[in-house]
């Protein structure tokens, strides 16, 4: 038997076998992991390394090698060095795991609280769950994790057939994906409920919501994705800059998961790496949680910092001795923080995704096998293609911000004081009414070459009396832009809003002159309203070719005209009475349309009184002064971003005070040459 073992050794390692000396030969009982048989151990010293020996252990069953393995045997002092560093890392890992556990428990608790209050958006949470589940499952299969799980079971099958074992391993994979997706969806669902409840910083959730609604082809979503992918390089580079600085001896960035080296589809695995749990938990849940209680942004950032640092350092550190199975996140929290606050949650997630993809792809590209290098390039190419597609769509796609912003806006409480059944019915009816009213508003602003337009309308109650619209006028290429406000609030206002919209659509079919349109609308409204209700409106007719805007103002707030080149603002305050207040002749006399000529870069802000009259808890009004100051800060911004800045500024001012009036804002920006 000894000869057979020596022959097997020779066959395995060739002439090197002569360097090994047999040091042990013994009979071995069958143990859990080892076969019964004769066990041989050969050893070889390593020159200049008294603490280390190369050992080959073989177990023979008759003349068959049941097991043979080469290994290094280390002396105690080597092992001590190794363990000492490993233990220091383990402490951080334990702390991180503890924090994650606490966060998960808080998520579960709050999730049930919001679920009881019916404040969880189950549709969106379910979409997120489905996407995460699918991505995680495909990832595990393409990365070879399922195969790795099966390997050991297949070698020593304890029970069941091969098919049954495969089925069980698949089930295990699906369960892992299920819990991963469930945690992600619960975390985000709760975070989003907190955002909606607090009613602040909703814009940071808007693009992610739009993505979950399947609006991949909107400019808003794709723009954020493109920016995120571009900024992903910074996130990816930071761990390497930290290590290259030489300030931290034991640090190493994240390594490639070893299993990917033999994965069935490593390129696909690199492109499907799961969303960063750490970043997701911090910005999808913890920040909204803090936001629901704290308004000062610097306090929020300070609170998020320790979580981020813990996650970062643990993620970077533990990789030194990581077994390769765990994929840790790494980035400097400061950069992630900047991306989140300057852009939004989706941008940050896209950046984290891009950083993960390039880090994995780099790991593949650094190997010598041509197949792995090709996979690395495929992953990089896939990311590049996604970025290019997002860039193209961000320039040419549809703008759906209006609708999404409305969906993100905090849902007001209704039916207070009623029985639960009545309240539920009322809520359902108001939900339908709210949706119907939102659907009356344009789904997307018109795309006009040389102009960027965006708009939003947020009712203060379940339904509102504000209105904006874009009218296709009979004159070629002329566009009518309408912002209107019906006096009063709630259901009556919303009914007159619907009537006004219908009248506008009807009259503007044959007429392009804004003053004539307003006169006709006034005539009808005056008959219907009988002075009980009135409507203020500003109608501007844009001639894109000549860059002129002819407008008529029926008692509405003056539009702000920002002359970006001169750094000045002026108000479009042509005189005019509200619609439905006075009879035709008096109204006609009051109305004086004006025409202005816009310059490249100029911006027009059409708005309703919900903005300047927004109030905070101290009863102070937001006012025109603050509004003009906020507009000044928008000089360099795209229309959609200017809209965000304005609404954020108002939201910050009012704090937790519930809105007392509808807010409507339309921003038109003339593209620069």
């Amino acid at each position: 038997m000894r000869k057979a073992a020596a022959a097997a050794l020779n066959q395995l390692i060739g002439s090197d076998a002569n360097q090994f000396a047999l040091v042990s030969e013994a009979q071995q009982e069958r143990r859990r992991e080892q076969q019964a048989g004769t066990r041989f151990i050969w050893e070889r010293a390593i020159a200049g390394e008294p603490d280390v020996k190369l050992q080959i252990e073989a177990t023979m069953r008759g003349r068959i090698i049941s097991e043979l393995r080469m290994r290094l045997v280390f002396a105690a002092n080597f092992q001590k060095d190794f363990d000492a560093q490993h233990d220091s890392v383990g402490l951080l890992a334990t702390l991180n795991a503890f924090v994650i556990l606490v966060v998960v428990l808080v998520v579960i608790g709050l999730f049930f609280v919001f679920a009881m209050r019916r404040e969880i958006n189950y549709t969106l949470a379910l979409v997120l769950f489905g996407a995460a589940f699918l991505a995680m499952t495909v990832l595990q299969i393409s990365a070879g994790e399922l195969e790795a799980g099966l390997s050991d079971q297949d070698f020593r099958p304890q029970r069941g057939t091969d098919s049954l074992r495969y089925l069980l391993a698949l089930l295990e994979t699906l369960l892992l994906s299920f819990f991963y997706a469930l945690c992600l969806a619960a975390m985000w669902g709760t975070g989003f409920a907190l955002v909606r409840r607090a009613g602040v910083e909703t814009k940071r959730a808007a693009s992610f919501v739009a993505l979950l609604r399947g609006k991949f082809l909107s400019r808003f979503v794709s723009g954020r994705v493109a920016i995120g992918i571009m900024l992903g390089g910074l996130l990816a580079a930071i761990p390497y800059l930290v290590v290259a600085s030489g300030l931290f001896d034991n640090l190493r960035p994240e390594q490639l998961n070893a299993q990917w080296l033999v994965a069935p589809a490593p390129a696909l695995a690199a492109l499907l790496r799961p969303l960063s749990y750490g970043l997701f938990a911090i910005y999808g849940f913890l920040v909204p949680l803090f936001q629901s209680r704290i308004r000062e942004r610097w306090v929020l950032r300070a609170l998020a910092l320790p979580f981020g640092c813990l996650w970062l350092w643990e993620g970077v550190l533990d990789e030194l001795f990581d077994g390769g199975g765990r994929r840790r996140r790494r980035t400097l929290i400061g950069v992630a923080d900047q991306i989140y606050w300057r852009f939004d949650f989706l941008t940050l997630m896209a950046a984290a995704f891009a950083a993960d993809v390039v880090t994995s792809a780099a790991g593949l590209l650094l190997q010598s096998a041509p197949g792995l290098v090709a996979s690395g390039w495929m992953a990089v190419g896939g990311l590049g293609a996604l970025c290019a597609a997002a860039l193209v769509v961000s320039r040419r796609g549809r703008d759906t911000q209006t609708e999404d912003e409305a969906q993100v806006a905090p849902a007001p409480a209704i039916g207070q004081g009623l029985q639960p059944i009545e309240r539920d019915r009322l809520m359902a009816e108001f939900g339908v009414a709210r949706l119907a009213q939102q659907q009356m508003l344009p789904a997307a602003p018109p795309a006009i070459h040389g102009y960027h337009i965006t708009a939003t309308c947020r009712p203060a109650r379940e339904v509102g009396g504000d209105l904006f619209d874009f009218l296709k006028l009979p004159d070629d290429d002329h566009l009518g832009i309408v912002v209107a406000d019906v006096s009063g609030k709630g259901v009556p206002a919303s009914l007159y809003m619907t009537l006004t919209k219908g009248l506008l659509a009807s009259v503007s079919e044959n007429e392009s002159d804004p003053s004539v349109i307003l006169r006709e609308v006034n005539r009808h409204l005056y008959q219907v309203c009988r002075r009980k209700i009135f409507v203020t409106m500003l109608l501007g007719v844009l001639d894109p070719a000549t860059r002129t805007l002819t407008y008529a103002r029926a008692g509405h707030n003056p539009t702000v005209w920002r002359h970006t080149a001169r750094g000045a603002s002026s108000l479009l305050g042509a005189p005019g009475l509200g619609l439905g207040m006075v009879s035709g002749q008096m109204f006609d006399k009051s109305l004086r349309p004006e025409t202005i000529r816009l310059e490249p870069g100029d911006v027009l802000f059409f708005y309703s009184d919900g903005i300047p009259e927004a109030m905070n808890a101290r009863g102070e009004e937001y006012g025109m002064e603050r509004m003009l100051a906020a507009i000044e800060r928008c000089d360099e911004l795209h229309a959609a971003e200017a809209l965000d800045v304005m609404l954020d500024d108002v939201a910050e001012f009012v704090g937790e005070t519930p809105p007392h009036d509808d807010i409507t804002l339309v921003v038109l920006r003339v593209a620069e040459r």
Partner: protein
């Protein structure tokens, strides 16, 4: 988005990816692995080793591949550098398991270094895997 902001983002993007590309070959922990086999080649080498060492043709058998990172070996190799004695060891151990789904239900596992040199073997069949099987004479 204003041109200035777009230019800033593009600049940050270019800088980030450039710095990443510059530092990765030096500091990426997986750069030292120099893994030389693809999945297909690992299976081919495993099949050849099974034929040579056990005389078993494993063509048509199911295959399961795993790659495991050996932290201690990597630590040692990084500390001691390349040596002739340890040339068969690498931070990554690839294991190819061949499973015979019919007949004797044999299993052959071949373990290899990053360069594809076999450094471990294992064999099981239905009899050996049977629970309570007594030790052989």
């Amino acid at each position: 988005m204003s041109r200035r902001r777009l230019a800033l983002i593009l600049l940050l993007a270019a800088s980030g990816y450039f710095v990443f590309a510059l530092l990765v070959p030096r500091f990426h922990p997986s750069a030292a692995w120099r893994y030389q086999m693809g999945r297909r080649e690992a299976v081919a080498r495993g099949r050849e080793a099974a034929q040579r060492l056990y005389g078993i043709d494993v063509s048509g058998w199911a295959t399961r591949l795993t790659a495991e990172h050996q932290a201690e070996i990597e630590y040692y190799l990084a500390r001691s550098g390349a040596r002739a004695e340890t040339s068969r060891l690498s931070p990554i151990t690839t294991s190819v398991l061949f499973v015979e789904n019919v007949g004797q239900g044999r299993r052959v596992r071949v373990e290899m270094s990053s360069s594809g040199q076999p450094n471990g073997l294992a064999y099981r069949d239905r009899v050996m895997n049977a629970p309570g099987q007594p030790a052989p004479e």
